[in-house]
Symmetry: C2
Subunit: 334 residues, 2 copies
């Protein structure tokens, strides 16, 4: 097995502090991903290897596993469903980087930076097919339905984001619709996939879907905050990239709708003036206005909602990890 993963060797922070408790589980996922991609050849093999070695939080496969382990032991099918979710995530990241023309992903050169857009499009397609191949081979039909739902929503979400670039009229509802489609529904589907494979009943699957949705909303809100306030070295991408690219996220929406900063912020978006000086001013306004705090409160409300969902589910060690995972979102740094 030549394809190897560096994720296990990584220093783990924030979210990863939860996952660290389950190193054996992470190792199972890594081994599974490596095995599944080992039969690829030529440049596709090289690209897959590069993606595996670029790390990642493995949040989606762990959500599949933890959700399933509420109801059963980590059987082979659960591991397979988890690996498929990560492969779909990888595929969407590779295509996202093509779409955004991003040259960095997790502090490593992106696939399109090294192999170009053309090979990257094909590599993403290959990874999608690989994921469905696993789900089909192991007859994980319901998981497949959930993954299809996730991909279709991600495509719609990405298009909504592109259509709303530099739009000054974005409100919270529009933002929520976009981040649900772009991020949260996928996490929700991971939880439903896991709960379903693990043997949860339809009510339990729905509850885990609700947990995942709220985790996903909190995750994306915090991601959008970190774009302004995070350490670029830890984030693995430049600071304030969203705003410079015209992606109007919740911190800026709070400024756009504030009495004090509203017209000033609208003018910046209208003029598309994102010089370092202006970005610094926006950063100060975000802190001074309390917009960042408000975003974090919003994220925390979703974390609380997610935790509330867990109350209706049977107690187990993995339920505790799902609580911890929700709380760890608050302190994530990347």
């Amino acid at each position: 097995m030549e394809i190897q993963s560096q994720v296990l060797k990584q220093d783990r922070q924030g979210l990863n502090s939860v996952f660290k408790k389950d190193a054996a589980l992470i190792e199972k996922i890594e081994t599974e991903l490596c095995n599944e991609l080992s039969d690829s050849k030529g440049p596709i093999r090289e690209m897959c290897n590069h993606i595996l070695n670029s790390g990642g939080k493995r949040l989606r496969p762990l959500l599949v596993l933890y959700s399933g382990m509420l109801f059963s032991d980590p059987c082979e099918k659960l591991i397979k469903a988890a690996a498929a979710a990560e492969l779909i995530h990888m595929a969407s990241l590779v295509h996202d980087d093509v779409i955004d023309n991003s040259m960095l992903r997790r502090n490593h050169p992106s696939v399109n930076c090294i192999w170009g857009n053309n090979f990257s499009v094909l590599c993403g397609d290959y990874l999608f097919a690989k994921a469905f191949g696993i789900l089909s081979r192991y007859r994980l039909i319901r998981s497949m339905d959930f993954m299809v739902e996730a991909i279709q929503n991600m495509c719609h979400g990405e298009i909504l984001q592109a259509e709303d670039r530099f739009c000054q009229e974005i409100d919270t509802n529009t933002y929520y619709d976009r981040i649900a489609k772009k991020t949260a529904i996928f996490l929700s589907c991971c939880c439903k996939s896991g709960a379903c494979v693990g043997g949860g009943n339809s009510v339990e699957i729905d509850i885990m879907g609700e947990y995942g949705l709220n985790i996903g909303l909190a995750f994306q809100i915090i991601d959008d905050v970190l774009d302004f306030c995070g350490n670029p070295d830890i984030m693995g991408k430049p600071k304030q990239e969203d705003l410079s690219q015209g992606n109007i996220t919740i911190p800026v929406i709070f400024l756009l709708t504030s009495e004090k900063y509203g017209s000033w912020m609208r003018e910046i978006v209208r003029r598309r003036d994102f010089s370092e000086h202006v970005l610094n001013q926006v950063y100060c306004a975000l802190l001074e206005s309390g917009a960042i705090d408000d975003c974090m409160k919003l994220a925390e409300s979703h974390i609380e909602k997610a935790k509330q969902c867990l109350k209706y589910l049977p107690d187990s060690p993995h339920k505790e990890l799902l609580y911890e995972l929700a709380d760890a979102l608050k302190t994530r740094k990347s």
Copy 2:
């Protein structure tokens, strides 16, 4: 149902003369495709509508249907498997046009020409997910395995083609490996999918796979000949595009390996000199050397092999159509 298809209204030639006999079947596929794409929204809906209205031969879904109808009536599952195959084909065409930066597809502006590369990548992903959604919803597991096999091979085939651009050392084996992966395995998988859904046994499924593979090889060889000799208005793309883009296909391989033209042709490929004057010279050399005739003989040998396969299968009206379809490849113009 707002999404409508123009395919039924098209003037049908060559291959289409066979399909014309089964207008009701084509109509079923069109209706199915329109219905499946009717729940899409916004730009994705517009892109899907555009793709449906740009026509196409619907060769893949018809291969699924005819292969299935050797063994059963055209049940709902067979129609669904056929629609899924066409959606995967559409997805791969949308991504191919991004990869090749093609502005024309079937005489219509390509999706990337109108909506740009970014939306096109997402539209392709959406169509892939849609196809797997159908296969999953109707529990067409074996068909899913075949479609996964097809997509993975197409990705590898496209990458092989990209890697071999402007290469003067391509031989017939390399070419065959590439066109099998890029085209023929998909057609083979369509036949296997149909035969499987229709209830063929494992031997019959394999035989139909062999039929599809040979149909696919013949189809691609003739496609590569038509790139040099076809009418660009009928083809819907510029003439001699393959060579100008460095894609060394079988007619040129025959020149590269001929005693008379070998070194001359290698020099052209090496210098990447594809002015109109040079392309005209290549065209004359292809005719004069007999390379075009040799290509057609090769294609005919695969058509014969495909027809031989059918001998081992039960007689039925659709078996006759599969014979006719094979023969119609020889006279196809687009």
